[in-house]
Symmetry: C2
Subunit: 539 residues, 2 copies
Amino acid sequence: MKVTLAQLDFVVGDIEGNKEKIIAAAQQSAGSSLVVFAEMALCGCPPYGLLQYDWFIDKCEKALDEIASRCDNIPILVGAPIRNNSGKGKPLFNAAVYMFQGQRKVFKKKQLGISDRYEAEYFEPSDDDNILQVGCHKFAITIGDDMCNNSGDDILISNRVDELMPQQPDLIVNIAADRFICQHAEHRRNVLRQTVLKYERPLIYVNQVGASMDCIYDGGSMVFGYNAYVVDSLPFFETVVKNIPMELLISMKRCDNQEIPSKYESLYNALILGIRDFFQKQGFSKAVLGLSGGIDSALVMTLAAAALGNENVTAILLPSEYSTGHSVSDAEALAKNLGSPYYIIPIKDSFHTLQDTLSPVFKGLPFDVTEENLQARIRAVILMAYSNKFGNILLNTSNKSEAAVGYGTLYGDMCGSLSVIGDVYKTDVFELSRWINRESEIIPWHTIEKVPSAELRPDQKDTDSLPDYPVLDAILYQYVECSQSPDAIVAQGFDSALVNKVIRLVNANEFKRKQVAPILSVSYKPFSRRLMPIGRFVV
Amino acid sequence: MKVTLAQLDFVVGDIEGNKEKIIAAAQQSAGSSLVVFAEMALCGCPPYGLLQYDWFIDKCEKALDEIASRCDNIPILVGAPIRNNSGKGKPLFNAAVYMFQGQRKVFKKKQLGISDRYEAEYFEPSDDDNILQVGCHKFAITIGDDMCNNSGDDILISNRVDELMPQQPDLIVNIAADRFICQHAEHRRNVLRQTVLKYERPLIYVNQVGASMDCIYDGGSMVFGYNAYVVDSLPFFETVVKNIPMELLISMKRCDNQEIPSKYESLYNALILGIRDFFQKQGFSKAVLGLSGGIDSALVMTLAAAALGNENVTAILLPSEYSTGHSVSDAEALAKNLGSPYYIIPIKDSFHTLQDTLSPVFKGLPFDVTEENLQARIRAVILMAYSNKFGNILLNTSNKSEAAVGYGTLYGDMCGSLSVIGDVYKTDVFELSRWINRESEIIPWHTIEKVPSAELRPDQKDTDSLPDYPVLDAILYQYVECSQSPDAIVAQGFDSALVNKVIRLVNANEFKRKQVAPILSVSYKPFSRRLMPIGRFVV
């Protein structure tokens, strides 16, 4: 007896394609007692507002019928949205559908919206007895956050499994669509392990892999034995279909063979998967970006080249009269290291023409942030012109630290259809760049080591208006990720005036973040999921 | 005996200011048996992610204490977030807090997130017996969506009140933060009336008034007698504190004195309130916008002038070589009608300089959408330069029809910190403009009557690439507002190829809408609340 774990990359909305992937994987696993697919496998994840469309759900139902008929002799458990026909509550269930030899059984999720707010809009929670009989074994079926509990912040050990235990299941199954969160893999494994320890049942966990817009699903499906060790596991960031013999689950063998990659290796793989799927799933292959000679655009270029192929990423160097010589030479060095195409398009003439055009209205007012922004926006105009003319997607190169404090120009360097490192703090931008260079120089070392500057006026440095990044990031981390109060942050030893300045900047710049493209999300609190009001009274 | 309805404009996050407003209103209503404030009055609505901050909730608690001590002899019922100390479930309750002579009683909302998705993230629903004894009367206390039921789409008659009826309340109270939805006021009144009819109890409904970011709360609080007629009501779009004698509730008098303004009068008032509060609550007073001579920017200019004062809205006319003569003359005529400042800044020089700058890369490729977008983006650069230099907020002038099909340039005419008419279809843009001109010409009639054109190439008309707006809007309405399938829309008599083209455009342009500023929301389905995936398989 064996169970098959199908860790696949599904495409949101592509029911036809997903159905074929499911059937192909099922047909590979002849003789399996159960082929397990991830949460929302059939429609892709996250489906968001597609769930409002009746005919989208009709399509899902038809696809389930086809899977059932084409895989009649293969027992399948697959995540899908299912209509709630009770007339009460939200229109759908987030379900795991079991199909085998004409039988169909629907298992429904209970714990909704813990990690994804949109769920509560469409799905009704369910308390049903989710027990599936497979041969002589009883499987307790849980979906995604059913493995968490929603008592406060301390998300450990499911209370959903509590409810299923009176039925005496032999084994627990969890199908999930858990997005990548940096340095979270061990926590996730611990949550599952605690469940195994508490209930003394083996557990099968099947996650999605692949990215959709801002969500990166990292795979890493695994199987726990009775002894609460991981007895087998699937890799992170790869599609795999694997058969697991049931004996393995019952064995007391210690076989903790799931290696969790290091922080920066994981982050690198996650961002590359995020870029690759963003392009592939929209039918694009080529990217363009502005390469300033600074570290943010250098990192984004390197990631994009790894995701799309060096030849598919075009760099545009846009020096102004305030650019230093090394900004061009560092950028050129990177493009050459990667062997990617690049152009140098100076912005001086456009800057002067626009200044002349504005002069009758500005009437000799002094150079200020207006003229700084003007240069950043001319660059965006040129980049978007290139993007339009050649059908490339413009990548945004803002990092999380500058997005937090508004150190960026709206419609200028904040442009782009995908924010690649908008959920990566500047200190991690440095570390990830060093990690990329661990064996040989890809990103020029001078780019990594020089003093950060926007180069929008003479001798400008980031630290003219911001604290050093390690201090800034530490304050931001406490405020944004840990929801700490200004007082609590000061109590940790930070300067009070600085803490208040940083928090004021974060809140005053919410209006800019409202207009940012999807951000590849790699933390608990990406700005793209941080729904905040704007206004001067927001502390 | 009397009850006081306090329909006030609260500021999100300004606990201090809101507290003072609450105290001032309470102190005005000497002798009232109950002073009723709206849902979330204390923290303003919608508070969104502020609710994650512990110290924000601490502030709310302190403010409640101060209200209680300064209004000890005034019985108050006020909406506020309250901590859930049970250790189970979400961290807060959405509550109505009753305070009088040292007593405090907390009534909790049950039906969460029907109209506001964020609620489910922070609030735990509660089944408590929400009965308040006021003198010899029992009041059933409900909050917001407690008056709806969540059985499918047919939102009528609350099932929350069912649960409270065994306690035999004499009267039902509903405190709400219901946002303005165009032509929805009658539906809202009917829902409340059905409740009164079913339970044969008078009902007091107190709504918020005022705007916060994309939400416009329209007031219109009201009191139903036993007979299910509105026996008294408060105006829409205005702050009012009003005492209602209890006898009125018990009387069988028919006094349906709540006049619901016409569609376009309501829409006009809502948008003006939305603009005014967006500026006031951020501490800004001046707006700038690009005035093209077309109807969208003319309408936005007129609304902004009404909201902020004519002298506080600056128009910038940005003719290109493809602009018609009337585009400047129509725009000038509007600025003169309003007496608002305006500048004419031609973009020709900047356009040519940028074309020259790009020519080594574009190598003689023909004029296409790139050059059209280039002009729109140069305009945005100039508008943002003005905004930066003089501290004005740039208003976005896109309408819902063009936002739907992507007929707009990202970082071009899609710029601006507030989208004023982004939830108003083009056909309503015309009708609202005619309504504004009902007594005398404010918006030049030529602007309303000429053929719409983006004027980005010679002799361009919107209908070159789009169907006539009445047809386009009818298809969009079915798809966006009614969630109809392509087949169902075709079955209504629309051309199949056209329907599929429009729907393809809607989905293909989701990436643009992801980068739009907050949109003043006036419909059930504003794009700012329509969370959709992007990708080529989204139908």
